[in-house]
């Protein structure tokens, strides 16, 4: 098995170029990679497209601003593809004022579209969204008398992921509900960067419990937890 480069977060985000589609793991921040997000904010790259479950927390009153919300606040995205923005007032403001294109995707459809990209499928036929605004502009197919939307694969350039533990080959396991979109995004991006709380030697992860196999991972970054 071949070891993957272990690099600093600041080096890792240099792989992200203006105009790229960046996928960020996590669900309301649970399972998002904090060091990679901070480094991308520091780098300041603009005109990105974000693919994420949501845009985490940003509250004008309390001043709370967490995870990808930091990048939203810095206006690094020209387009945001997520299932939920209800906890981020700034995303709603940018959308309502036409500053940023926000595409709302049903969460299960988002998961399948990302997975499809990673699995070499052009898309899936889902009943979700039939008869709603989500249907607009999409091909509707009749299969055995029922209507389905053709939802196309959603690939990305760079994935920023968070794992609990990685081996040096890039095999990953996650922490409880922090798994969520991370394993799917690992399949769907040209460059996959993983912030891991712990990095162990090759052979120290049981092959039965690996969730993301090494072949899908390109770079490892040590989380600050690890020191």
């Amino acid at each position: 098995m071949v070891a993957k480069p272990i690099i600093a977060a600041e080096k890792a985000v240099e792989l992200i170029k203006e105009g790229d589609t960046v996928m960020v793991g996590g669900f309301l921040g649970c399972g998002s990679p904090p060091a990679l997000i901070d480094a991308l904010e520091q780098q300041g790259t603009k005109n990105l497209t974000l693919v994420c479950n949501d845009t985490a927390f940003l509250n004008f009153k309390t001043g709370a601003c967490t995870h990808v919300a930091k990048l939203v606040a810095k206006k690094q995205f020209r387009k945001i593809v997520v299932s939920h923005i209800g906890t981020n007032q700034e995303t709603q403001r940018q959308m309502n004022e036409g500053e940023t294109e926000v595409v709302l995707v049903p969460q299960g459809t988002l998961a399948e579209r990302i997975r499809a990209a990673g699995a070499g499928l052009a898309g899936v036929l889902t009943p979700t969204g039939v008869g709603t605004e989500v249907q607009e502009g999409k091909q509707v197919l009749d299969v055995d008398g029922r209507k389905f939307l053709l939802e196309k694969a959603l690939p990305g350039n760079v994935a920023l992921l968070k794992a609990k533990k990685a081996d040096k080959a890039g095999n990953l396991v996650y922490d409880k509900a922090a798994r969520n979109f991370n394993p799917l995004m690992a399949m769907a991006c040209e460059t996959v960067i993983v912030e891991a709380d712990e990095i162990v030697e090759i052979g120290q992860l049981d092959p039965e419990i690996v969730v993301t196999p090494s072949v899908l991972v390109h770079y490892l970054v040590r989380s600050k937890k690890q020191g």
Binding site: L28, H84, I85, L104, P106, T128, E133, K176, P183
Partner: protein
């Protein structure tokens, strides 16, 4: 008769729908309360769309785990026999018909079973999150809502005006005045809750309602 909003009544009644062993997904907010009123002798298994089965109650103070939260970001626990999985598996379980029931909050619900709960254009656009998949996938979809909004307008309508979360997917609507089935394009009143009356409900609700032949008064006090 005066209307008093009462979330507890809604949660109590919905909790009686479940059979032992049912797999249930409860939406954030009012629907989450339902979990507190499941009758003794009935065990339901809660699915959390962010990726696990066996959602348990909030942890004791000091025992919070940032990696163990529900779909609203609140700290929870996991029951013995639970399992973690990714978002694709989570929604395969939801969309694939492996969830027995889901309970969802409401902005508007109409007599055709349409539900609107994710968007007030130009005003509030939280996004649909997992709600569109849940309404399409769960075997039973229950809409949980106070009967009237703060201005006193009926939340049960002839036709939703807001963008739909799901078209024709709602099976039951439970409010704090009664329990309704959606059948053939009308609401069917199955139960009215003390102290409200059938006449009160028919008069105040802005929708077509058929009174079930077995309709009865229920006291959830």
């Amino acid at each position: 008769m005066e209307y008093t909003a009462n979330k507890e009544v809604i949660a109590k009644r919905i909790a009686r729908i479940f059979k032992d062993g049912d797999v249930v997904n409860l939406g954030i907010g009012l629907p989450t309360l339902v979990g507190n009123y499941v009758p003794a002798g009935v065990t339901i298994v809660l699915q959390s769309e962010n990726g696990f089965l066996g959602l348990g109650p909030a942890p004791a103070p000091g025992r919070e785990d940032p990696a163990l939260v529900n779909a609203g970001g609140g700290f929870v626990t996991i029951q013995p026999g639970g399992a973690f999985f990714d978002s694709a598996m989570s929604f395969a379980i939801i969309r694939g018909g492996h969830v027995d029931a889901t309970v969802l909050g409401v902005l508007e619900v109409d007599q055709k079973g349409n539900l609107a709960n994710y968007k007030i254009p130009g005003k509030m656009v939280p996004g649909m999150g997992g709600a569109m998949d849940l309404t399409v996938g769960a075997k039973i979809v229950v809409a949980a809502t106070e009967h009237f909004d703060k201005s006193g307008a009926s939340k049960l309508l002839r036709a939703c005006k807001l963008p739909l979360t799901a078209a024709g997917q709602v099976d039951f609507v439970c409010t704090d005045v009664g329990f309704f089935e959606v059948r053939n394009g009308t609401f069917v009143l199955k139960e009215y809750f003390k102290p409200y009356t059938v006449d009160y409900i028919l008069e105040k609700t802005d929708a077509d309602i058929v009174v079930d032949k077995d309709c009865r008064e229920v006291d959830l006090g």
